[in-house]
């Protein structure tokens, strides 16, 4: 097992560990803006830990879909994490066309979640499922379009090469393009991760909720899996945006250093630097999400598609900019 794979594995583990922190950051930002002290940063870790030791309760109507869905969702999300590059470092599984698989894995998550929600036979969860299905159906093509445009730009079809190793000069040459793609991603992040102008993650009983209402009946480890998978998904989106926004100086370094057998040698310091260089924007985006959540009110349901339309517009603009 080469060092590179070990490195990738390490970054996957790092992501897995750090992902729930994003929620804490967002909540802390919201609290600060609202002038409150707020929950601890590590609140989600505590929650997850507690839920893992709770006994699950299942509805009479539910079937094995209900039980399998959280695990399936988590498995798919973790696999998605495996094909996502960590900054300039190639992903654990990097192959041409993997960005398509990323979208497909999101679809798998959604598929299992929706079915689990419908499995309870509750009107509320059915409602949530319908909305989730609707918004994600509208969001999926936009995500795909943004990704394919990125691939077009890179001339390569693996995420690791598309967003992982953007050369700063190249980035600078196409700055408007990347900014627009990033905005499109950010606008997709909001509905896909149930953030405020679209959805409110804090309440459970509103008739207008989407994601939270879908998982009303889950409990114990199942709920923990779902929450965890959600935070991982948020992490993935943040990583995508940071990958698009932040060209890595390491990439230039890698390109310049002569390849010694099995690839260029990277110094340990560089790795740490690049890691920080990647993590910072990720948390920066979390801060941004927190700010948006604090400053905006939730949109009426029928206006949510407008957010998606906006995202689509940015993606199309980006495509046009690139094509021109």
């Amino acid at each position: 097992m080469s060092a590179r794979i070990l490195l990738s594995l390490f970054f996957v583990l790092l992501s897995v560990l750090l992902a729930p922190l994003l929620n804490g950051v967002i909540n802390r930002v919201k609290a600060i803006v609202a002038g409150r002290k707020g929950r601890p940063l590590l609140q989600l870790y505590y929650d997850l830990f507690k839920l893992m030791h709770k006994n699950p309760v299942y509805s009479h109507t539910s079937t094995w879909f209900f039980r399998a869905a959280p695990a399936a969702g988590l498995a798919a999300t973790i696999f998605a994490l495996c094909i996502l590059p960590f900054g300039p470092f190639a992903a654990l599984c990097s192959f041409p066309g993997d960005f398509l698989l990323l979208a497909g894995l999101f679809a798998l998550v959604r598929f299992s979640l929706i079915l689990a929600a419908l499995d309870t036979g509750s009107a509320f969860e059915g409602m949530g499922a319908a909305r989730e299905a609707m918004f994600s159906a509208l969001a999926e093509p936009i995500l795909l379009l943004s990704l394919v445009v990125l691939a077009y730009h890179a001339g390569d079809y693996s995420l690791s090469n598309m967003i992982g190793c953007l050369h700063p000069d190249l980035w600078a040459a196409n700055r408007p393009f990347f900014v627009m793609i990033a905005i499109a991603f950010f606008l997709l992040l909001l509905p896909e991760n149930c953030r405020i102008p679209v959805d409110d993650p804090n309440t459970h009983l509103e008739l207008t909720m989407i994601h939270e209402v879908m998982i009303l009946d889950h409990s114990g480890p199942d709920l923990a899996f779902l929450e965890y998978a959600a935070s991982l998904k948020l992490w993935i989106f943040c990583m995508l945006i940071s990958g698009v926004l932040m060209p890595s100086s390491l990439t230039a370094l890698l390109a310049e250093s002569p390849p010694v057998d099995g690839g260029p040698v990277i110094a340990f310091g560089d790795i740490v630097l690049a890691t920080l260089h990647t993590l910072l924007p990720v948390f920066g985006i979390a801060v941004l999400v927190g700010l948006v959540e604090s400053l905006m009110a939730r949109l009426r349901l029928e206006r949510v598609p407008q957010v998606l339309t906006l995202a689509a517009c940015f993606a199309v603009f980006a495509a046009l900019v690139l094509w021109r």
């Binding site: 399998a68 695990a71 066309g97 679809a107």
Partner: protein, 686 residues
């Protein structure tokens, strides 16, 4: 080639044996055996044909009135033949049991057949075999007249199969619209082949192809449009799909398998075959003045895909949902073909191969999962006698095996990894991406991106449609007594579904090998003109390997998570409780989200495309009466035909009836007028 003839003889023999036996179970078992044997032999034959370097040819000395009995099976035919054999064999094995179940259902008592039941076994078996044989003939015919005859036989026979019991006016309408569409489509093909055979002065496909190479067709564009319309009707491409929901919804399971699993493919086959006849190197060097062919294909494909899935997600009947989604999938295939044409013309070899392979594989996959879903729908219908979502629900607890297979099928059709549906769409996506890259500097990337977007939206909407269908029918609580008492179908149907489900999964596990198989046969036929081996497709193979691997990885991760969960909740075992009712004490099954409410919000968002019709009663009194809110989304693209074509013609015909007034004087007046007019014209004629 002898094997092919043997399968044909088997099928025909089964057909006539069945006709001869007329009634009783042997009238169904004999054709079932024949179909199964023919399927085995046929699949072997396909494998053999795919291994041959070039196509196989043969002819029969049957004095056909205009053409000749020429057979030719090249790799394209073989690729299309595989699902035909597979599904006709499967359907054939299922046939006796399905027919029996239908008869039991009509008697109302399980296990009891009404004396002199209303299905004529012999006739049913006969036409089933004939339909299979005709499909094989269509795929192997290499002569225009022979092809047309086989085509029309294939188009006509389902008419006898769609509604074996002939129960209600809905089924009758289905039969009618099916036959009308089939024949009108065939008439267009008649014009097409007549013109081609006049120009080439021969009805043989080989001669036509060489004619196209040497002198080229006059009005090739028109011919192409005719082919697209004629074959598009059969493939159920969106504005021409009006027969599909009716016929597929009415057909019993084993017939629907043939109709949607194989017959639609033949429409695609026709388009591909005609492309090779009209422009033999269409996929490698399409002339610039024929680029609009590809645009047209893409346009129709995109339209069909989008409207197919939109209409599918608004249906209240599960079989209709499935039927509309066939329009979607055929649209996707058509779109990929069009994109491949464009990519090939622009020199984007990789994209062309990927798109074509994606189209072929998607055709296979569609055959598999659509058959699976139709069989599942049939199982639901047999156990509950309804297929409307309104009356179903909670079936998973009652028929878990059917439910599991259906869930797999739904996941496959909704393009969820790691199943086969996503596998072929993956190739299409990648092909489109490559196409956009290879055509850098032209306006084509925009087209490819647009298609990419369309495919993406369709996939998203398919997820919506099929989670809705599956979730509302199989999950939750039963909405009616019928679904409360659902029972698993018989073993044969169960194993049929299981087989298809395993195949669905197996195809995605065997993705790399299947891809290279398809790639080789495409290179030998459609892409033969583009020097072989120039394009490096190792990346696509890599992707396919990864895709096959992804299934395993996902499984491993899932079991890991499952284990973690089990160990976490090990201590006292899970608790049981009713679904949380949000504080309302008497929740009932009727409060669940229904099909209409599920798709309402999306239908409203997509109002301009879907044109939903809402009828929400206003509540006025203090004590309102029982009211019904209805959402329906009429199929406006096919209603357009009715408005623009059928209604004016019948109005005109109504008016014309006045001319036959019954008065003999008027009749003689007609003669008078005709005489004077003809005489005048005769003098004026120079």
């Amino acid at each position: 080639m002898l094997i092919l003839f043997a399968t044909l003889v088997l099928l025909l023999g089964g057909a006539f044996a069945s006709l001869f036996l007329r009634r009783g179970k042997w009238a169904l078992y004999v054709p079932a055996c024949a179909l199964a044997l023919a399927a085995l032999a046929g699949i072997g034959f396909c494998a053999y044909a795919l291994l041959q370097p070039s196509g196989l040819q043969a002819s029969l000395p049957l004095p056909l009135p205009l053409g000749a009995c020429l057979f030719s099976v090249d790799h394209i035919s073989a690729l299309f033949l595989i699902p035909v054999f597979l599904l006709s064999g499967l359907g054939g094995v299922l046939m006796p049991f399905r027919v029996r179940a239908l008869e039991w259902a009509s008697s109302g008592v399980p296990g009891v057949t009404v004396k002199g039941g209303d299905i004529q076994h012999g006739r049913h078996g006969f036409f089933y075999c004939i339909l299979s044989a005709a499909m094989v003939l269509v795929l192997s015919a290499s002569d225009a007249v022979f092809f047309l005859i086989a085509w029309e036989i294939m188009s006509l026979t389902p008419f006898f199969l769609i509604s074996p019991q002939d129960k209600d006016s809905k089924e009758r309408y289905a039969v009618w619209i099916y036959l009308v569409a089939a024949h009108l489509g065939a008439l267009v093909l008649l014009l097409l082949f007549a013109d081609m055979s006049v120009q080439a002065d021969s009805t043989s496909f080989a001669v036509m192809e060489s004619f196209a190479r040497q002198s080229g067709w006059q009005g090739a564009g028109l011919l192409f449009v005719l082919a697209l319309v004629g074959f598009g009707v059969k493939a159920g491409l969106a504005p021409l799909h009006m027969w599909m929901p009716e016929a597929h919804a009415s057909a019993p399971g084993h017939v629907a398998v043939l109709l949607s699993g194989t017959m639609l493919n033949l429409g695609i086959y026709g388009i591909v075959r005609l492309l090779t006849l009209l422009a033999p190197d269409a996929f490698t060097a399409l002339a610039p003045d024929r680029f609009w062919w590809s645009y047209l294909l893409m346009g129709i494909g995109a339209f069909s895909a989008v409207f197919g899935i939109l209409l599918a997600l608004a249906q209240s009947d599960m079989k209709r949902t499935l039927a509309y989604s066939s329009a979607e999938n055929m649209g996707l295939i058509c779109l990929a073909l069009g994109a491949a044409l464009l990519a090939g013309a622009r020199g984007a070899d990789k994209a062309c191969v990927l798109l074509l392979a994606g189209a072929v594989l998607h055709m296979w996959n569609h055959s598999l999962f659509k058959s699976l879903l139709f069989l599942g729908a049939n199982a639901v219908k047999e156990s509950t006698h309804v297929t409307t979502i309104r009356h179903l629900g909670g079936l998973q607890k009652r028929i878990p095996l059917t439910g599991g297979c259906m869930a797999l099928g739904c996941a496959a059709i909704a393009a969820v990894p790691p199943l086969n549906g996503f596998m072929s769409e993956l190739l299409m996506y990648l092909g489109l991406a490559f196409g956009s890259e290879a055509t850098r500097g032209t306006e084509n990337p925009l087209i490819f991106w647009g298609l990419f977007f369309v495919v993406g939206s369709v996939a998203g909407l398919a997820l919506f449609a099929f989670t809705r269908m599956f979730g509302l029918i199989f999950l939750g609580t039963p909405r009616s007594p019928e679904s409360l008492e659902a029972k698993e179908p018989d073993r044969v149907l169960q194993s049929g579904m299981l087989l298809l489900a395993v195949l669905c999964l197996g195809v995605s596990l065997a993705a790399p090998w299947l891809f290279s198989l398809v790639e080789h046969s495409l290179r030998a036929t459609l892409l033969s003109a583009a020097g072989t081996g120039t394009t490096d497709l190792s990346f696509a193979h890599e992707l396919m390997y990864w895709y096959a691997l992804a299934a395993l990885v996902l499984l491993a991760l899932f079991s890991l998570a499952w284990l973690v969960r089990r160990s976490a909740s090990w201590k006292s075992g899970p608790g049981e409780s009713p679904t949380w009712d949000c504080g309302y004490r008497y929740p009932s099954a009727r409060m669940q989200y229904s099909g209409g409410s599920f798709s309402l919000s999306l239908a409203l968002v997509l109002r301009p495309l879907l044109r939903p019709m809402l009828r929400i009663p206003a509540i006025r009194d203090l004590f309102p009466q029982r009211q019904h809110a209805v959402m329906s989304s009429p199929d406006w693209p096919s209603a357009l035909w009715e408005r623009l074509l059928f209604n004016p013609v019948s109005a005109l015909a109504e008016w014309t009836k006045n001319l036959q007034s019954g008065l003999v004087n008027v009749y003689v007046l007609y003669i008078f007028i005709a005489l004077v007019a003809a005489l005048t014209w005769a003098l004026g004629w120079s």
